[in-house]
Symmetry: C2
């Protein structure tokens, strides 16, 4: 029994129910025209993911129901599956509507609600309590949602073992971090093999505040092999024919049958009769398999570009502006912005001071020229002089210190924000995760802006991304002089980052151990043979939470980013 | 059977396990010296509340266990009860240790985990599964934690009905909002009456980032009457003798006995034998009942003062600085800061521009003089002129607009931050909730600072708090001219807030309906008979989320504040 499945990897905007519904309607029509028997959309695709506290608006829920009912009218030939937030008796569910012949034939409610990391689903949703299956002709299919297939002994197991589902469609909105797409592929493949079913996994794509959804929708065969996979970091429609008889055959294996007969379902297993899914007579157009990202650099770079583009576009910005210091962070940020928005939409500003080296300004000019963006040059000397004059009496007799450095950074912030206010440009900040971790930044200075492109990228990865991007073009866009100069904030004479911080490879290794691996400082110190350095770095991380709390959002690319992912108190006397 | 109960209303600092333990040790000694048979501390008092993601640090958990075991050694005469985060088999519980004769005699684990509003407890904790009771002589007592008594049919009911507990000790960390202490009193009194038990409720006190815990610990009698209550917004030790025979007598009522015999417990009810609680021979010192706040203004003002003091002190600041515009918001903020830190610790800065009225500077001077704080006067004209010069070519031919207004606000932000950096003063921002709701503020300008004292106070309440504070002193500290002038940002000639915003009584009423009552705009419009105004205001609220995301923390005083309480996406096309 052959079924043509269409996985519609869409890029909705949170809150734009009408706009999302319209894109989904087009996808349903297109998939049906191509003979699809099943068309599936990601988790909460009708409202965008994550909708956060919009869930508490009654209108927001009511309009989703209306939009789903409208979409159902288009479900003529195919069974259409789409995620929406559903209300019943005052409770809200993270649901999948199964639509057929113009109406909602069944609803599945997500059972496993993630409430860790960036997720707050127990804040919003009541868990579903049924492992519903869909009878269709001789076989059964089932739908579940994202986390449902990540938990062992979850609803998918009950649907396959107790409900005889030989096709499971998992609709997901699974955010990106480096390496996760491989985890996802292994998971989907493993579950398909273990449960002897086809597993069609449709993921969201697009950027939403700090999150990027990377797509990579896929269908695994009941032997665990990967049948096909959609593209990454782009909308896609993955069409494939699956022969459910292959699953039926594998399930006849006596061992599996024994497992089925002794299985105790953890949920009730109601069956909804869907009727047969029509087989397609239209030939499936062959397509080249889209390449999976070949390296961490490739996927991280893709996430930065998509996250930046979607943050700008979905918030109504056409153009972005950023300070170009001549350093590697702003150079990478500029190039990402160019790849996201196009060179004519990106505006560089060089803001030299008395402490800027000649080379820095030249490097900024060369970068702008290589990247094809315009460059505005504004000396900060006059405003800086005015501030120094203002404080000459007030600070008389006191030593120059970080105060005077911060004034310069904040002048630059003010200049960029003025350009933003006048031209409605999005200010991109250029701080990397190493700096942000230890608070090596000026609040309202270099942290001032709407989107922090590389906030989750450690400095060592900044260099790797620069090399990756340079290798992509015919000519390296970021010059060697930028890459090779010692990192410096250039806020006082002869300053370099390493006056205050350990070398970045050491710093990043400590930070990764502490923040991402959550190792106790004593263990990290043992590995680094330097407990005072580790204590110093850890102390800097904890003491700079107040800066991060006021910093702009930016793309999450690591398993543990700052933001919703890591909720630390500002007032905190714990010293690990 | 008489028991002397001591409720130790302490003010711990999050993360300062040693410091908190030391305060708690002193309280145990003092309570025992006063003949207490039971000494109870609030929820998670050993680590401070809420510890947020510190919970994921193994060291953080291990050190709490050590501190609790040390505290147990002091439990000689009395039974000591204290909240701590407890690990077992990789799961973390929000627990109460019951300590007696030098060791932990029993542990109760919180069953009801709040995961709404500002709470994320399901992110951290596994719910407990037992309604443990403590047998002591002829009677039983029980301990539970905060939310456990807020839910109907919760663990307290099982402890009383199935476990025969005639004394229930609820240890809480219940954050303040206006009116909540009355809700709490009704709840405690109602549960005590319904469950025919003494209900001793010990609450935390102090400020932690956005939250203030207001104390008001209390003991209710089994007839529902309030036996005694601790003070508000201050540490306290509430000592009272309760005669458990009163509860036993009321429980002999046939109706209650029938309810007990037909009751089906929702949890298992293990009993721990504590042995008799010694009766005290020391006379209880009489004390005057502390007054409950008599008005919303009084309790809100108390919360602002405590929240500001604790944010400053717990983060190591002795002094605060703020801009004094001559307006009512900065005047109120200054007076709160003076009441929190003392006048010699508060520094006012007047930063007039070409658009400041003469009266504004005079009002700022009068306020500083009345409040007893110093006042620095810094004209922003020179830096402003320098910026205008910088942009004279770049913005040539373009109209003046909000850009030039924002430059001024950001100069002020830069000046205050420079003073902060040089002197290690905490910058207090002065924006009220009405402005913050609609984005009537300059990011990195008037929003620049470490703590936003009145961020959750609507403008209409600002005036009420000013009147309240003025009535407290012998002479009004905030002059009539400040109160009576039309609110203005003074960033362009003749500007007033009402050029852009509706009158504040109208605005605040719309905002309260939309944000706190979560009413749909259509209903609000019906009440206000002006749907375009309501639509405009609601749109301003949603479009300014990006500013709030980068704003400093400040005291929560309403049932729904911005921050952890209201988690809205920045990228959001939903228009209610």
């Amino acid at each position: 029994m052959k079924v043509r499945i269409a996985l519609a990897q869409v890029n909705p905007t949170v809150g734009d129910i009408d706009g999302n519904a319209s894109v989904m309607a087009d996808a349903v029509k297109s998939a049906q025209a191509q003979g699809a028997g099943i068309v599936a959309f990601p988790e909460l695709s009708i409202c965008g993911y994550p909708p956060e506290d919009l869930i508490f608006s009654r209108d927001f829920i009511v309009r989703q129901r209306d939009a789903i009912e409208n979409l159902a009218r288009l479900a003529r030939k195919a069974v259409v599956i789409a995620g929406f937030a559903e209300e019943e008796d005052g409770k809200i569910y993270n649901s999948a509507a199964v639509m057929r012949e113009g109406r909602i034939a069944a609803v599945y409610r997500k059972a496993a609600l993630p409430n860790y990391g960036v997720f707050d689903e127990k804040r919003y949703f009541t868990p579903g309590g049924k492992a519903t299956v869909l009878r269709t002709g001789r076989t059964s299919a089932a739908v579940n949602i994202c986390e449902d297939i990540w938990v062992d002994g979850g609803v998918a197991e009950t649907q396959s073992l107790a409900g005889d589902a030989c096709l499971i469609i998992n609709i997901s909105s699974s955010p990106f971090h480096a390496g996760k797409s491989v985890d996802r592929r292994k998971l989907v493949s493993g579950r398909a093999r273990d449960l002897r079913c086809f597993l069609a996994y449709v993921n969201l794509v697009g950027g939403q505040d700090e999150l990027v959804f990377d797509g990579g929708s896929m269908i695994a065969s009941p032997d665990g092999s990967m049948l096909c996979r959609a593209g990454f970091f782009a909308t896609d429609m993955l069409l494939a024919d699956v022969n459910l008889d292959e699953a039926l055959k594998l399930r006849r294996d006596p061992e599996f049958a024994a497992r089925q007969s002794s299985f105790k379902p953890a949920w009730p297993v109601p069956a909804v009769n869907l009727g047969p899914i029509p087989d397609s007579r239209i030939a499936l157009k062959p397509r080249a398999a889209p390449a999976e990202p070949k390296s961490p650099e490739e996927e991280i770079y893709g996430a930065l570009v998509l996250g930046t583009r979607d943050y700008a576009c979905k918030n109504g910005f056409t153009d972005a502006v950023l300070g170009l210091s001549g350093g590697v962070d702003s150079a990478l940020t500029a190039v990402v912005a160019v790849d996201a928005l196009g060179p004519s939409r990106v505006h560089g500003v060089a803001m030299p001071s008395r402490y800027s080296s000649r080379g820095s300004l030249e490097d900024a000019r060369a970068l702008a020229s290589n990247a094809g963006i315009d460059l505005l040059e504004i000396s900060i000397e006059k405003p800086f002089g005015a501030y120094l004059e203002v404080f000459s009496g007030i600070f008389a007799g006191l030593k120059q210190d970080e105060t005077e450095e911060n004034i310069q950074a904040r002048i630059r912030g003010n200049l960029l924000m003025a350009l933003s206010n006048k031209h409605d440009w999005l200010v991109l900040t250029t701080g990397n995760k190493s700096e942000i971790s230890v608070g090596y930044s000026t609040l309202y200075g270099d942290t001032a802006g709407g989107f922090a492109v590389i906030k989750d990228v450690f400095k060592t990865m900044v260099y790797r991304l620069v090399d990756f991007r340079n290798a992509k073009g015919q000519v390296p866009v970021i010059a060697r002089s930028i890459i090779e100069k010692p990192p410096s904030a250039e806020l006082k004479p002869g300053q370099t980052d390493q006056d205050t911080l350990p070398p970045y490879d050491v710093l990043d290794s400590i930070l990764r151990s502490y923040i991402e691996l959550n190792l106790p400082p004593s263990e990290i110190a043992a590995a680094h043979r330097d407990s005072s350095l580790v204590r110093k770095v850890v102390g800097m991380v904890e003491r700079s939470e107040f800066k991060r709390r006021q910093s702009p959002p930016g793309v999450k690319i690591t398993p543990l980013s700052f933001g919703r992912d890591r909720r630390m108190p500002v007032t905190n006397r714990f010293r690990a």
